[in-house]
Amino acid sequence: MSIELATDDGQAVLPGDLSQSPLAIRGLTVSYGDKPAVFSVDATFQPGAMTAIVGPNGAGKSTILKSVLGIVRPLSGQILIHGKPAARQIHLVAYVPQRASVDWDFPARVIDVVLMGLSRELGLLRRVRRTHLDRAMACLARVGMERFADRQIGQLSGGQQQRVFLARALAQDAQIYLLDEPFAGVDAATEAAIIDVLKSLRDEGRTVIAVHHDLSTVSAYFDHVFLINTTRIAEGTVAQAFTSENLHAAYGGRLPAMPAAGQAG
């Protein structure tokens, strides 16, 4: 129900075709106080694509993810995963929270955190077997952290912590990957490693959606973009939607220095 201001048509999945989209949002409004964090947002994410959710600080980027996951309760709106209410499809989703959202002083080793990704399979009482450990180690290897399996999580650098979070999500073996600021405060090597893993996920046909704040890397990392500032500004392929006109609409007067977005401006 948001406003058709920007040109955002011509996608693989049309906004009306909800069942084809891995994740579709209709009329989502979430409010934490007397101002909405997101207002009346529609979104139709594309299957097998890498989408960046982009917008200024406080634009409601993380709120979108948290609403999908049922972490915050919307005032109104519908969230559909493969055409069905998200609450019943949540097993298809893996989530990488913001690194700063947890207490890294928690008494756990790296491998313990990755094994959390297998919790659905392990249930309450099933013992962790060799096969589970092997899978967890394989996920760690995919992010280049296999040597750290026995390390206490508090001893990791920020980039290493982020990789452990990604490994945990890989262990979930999900269709849809939701990541909240995966590149915030990480070193360049980690950033490259994470983007490699995300691209390989996409190439396997999975859907990757990441909240992202670095405009300069949007074009290089992602193929689709969803621009938001409380309301939806635009969505589509990077070429279609990541225009300086749309960026102005999203950022108002606060547009940061913007390289490489001027193709359509």
Binding site: I71, I90, D103, S119, G154
Partner: protein, 306 residues
């Protein structure tokens, strides 16, 4: 003191103290990691009104109504705290302070206004229990442990506390994974489909049941020492949760044993003929262990750079 005296006078209170300490320390580990250590404080205070109300309704001090009363009071307290925190936008510590002090006060008032002279229920008892009175008169020596007739005369607190400690242990084992995940990363836990709110509430109820069972033996405020001190000391010994749990159970046991022994025999060794409060001494010993761990524990300091 010979074997007969020991079995009759000391064994039951020691066992009750140990079981009580373990039953509180086990959920205490998770409360500590969730930054909810003071929920234990709140719960042990509101157990009093819960028990008093249960007593006023049933007219007797019996196990299950008391347990239900205290668990119910704990749930009411937690709900009220959340209500004040969310709807009133009041910081959680202050919300807790409002709720548990008021409920405790109401319990005190109810207790003083009702006729409880016929039963073993008064405010001082509620505050610091009476571990020493839980004796086994039917015991004549170690052989009584195999004598069904004598066993029937065990203080009822002993089997009650043992069952509660066992239940708490089993439930913690059963819920180990969801508890760990939702404690470490609530957002991820929700996304992984775990009923995070229910898990949190279950932990509180578990703590409440442990608190009320232990309440009889060691009183409401010293229960807090068992919720917090052994897990806090254990946290400084290791960086692994399962090991921390083990350490905390060990520390709880040592506190209970040494506290009881020091309270019971310490004054005699010094030439006095009266013993001192065992419950208080247990709390002091747990504090001593915490102090040592805080000073020398291998994992006492926060990790830098996280």
């Amino acid at each position: 003191m010979n074997g007969a005296e020991f079995v009759a006078l000391s064994l039951p209170p020691i066992l009750i103290g140990v079981f009580a300490a373990i039953a509180c320390a086990v959920p205490g580990n998770f409360l500590l990691l969730r930054r909810q250590a003071l929920i234990g404080d709140a719960i042990s205070h509101v157990a009093l009104p819960g028990i008093v109300v249960a007593f006023l309704i049933t007219g007797a001090v019996t196990t299950w109504p008391m347990m239900l009363g205290a668990a119910g009071a704990a749930i009411i307290a937690v709900v009220l705290i959340e209500l004040i925190r969310r709807l009133g936008r009041i910081e959680v510590g202050a919300a807790m302070g409002v709720v548990f002090t008021t409920m405790f006060t109401a319990g005190v008032l109810l207790l003083e206004q009702s006729d409880t002279s016929s039963v073993h229920l008064d405010v001082e008892h509620a505050l610091y229990g009476n571990l020493e009175s839980l004796i086994w008169l039917d015991a004549t020596g170690w052989t009584s442990l195999a004598d069904p007739a004598a066993l029937a005369g065990l203080p009822p607190e002993l089997p009650r506390m043992a069952v509660v400690a066992l239940l708490v242990g089993l439930l913690t084992l059963l819920l180990w994974r969801p508890l760990t995940i939702s404690t470490f990363d609530e957002g991820f836990a929700r996304a992984a489909g775990l009923p995070v709110t229910a898990i949190g509430l279950l932990l509180v109820i578990m703590a409440a049941v442990a608190a009320v069972a232990a309440f009889d033996a060691v009183g409401s405020i010293i229960v807090i020492a068992m919720f917090i001190c052994p897990p806090a000391a254990a946290r400084m010994m290791t960086n692994r949760l399962d090991h921390q749990m083990g350490w905390s159970i060990g520390f709880a046991t040592v506190s209970a044993l040494s506290g009881y022994v020091l309270a019971g025999y310490g004054p005699l060794w010094l030439g006095f003929d009266n013993s001192i409060s065992a419950a208080g001494m247990i709390a002091v010993m747990s504090g001593l262990i915490l102090a040592i761990a805080a000073r020398f524990g291998p994992c006492r300091a926060r990790v830098a750079g996280s």
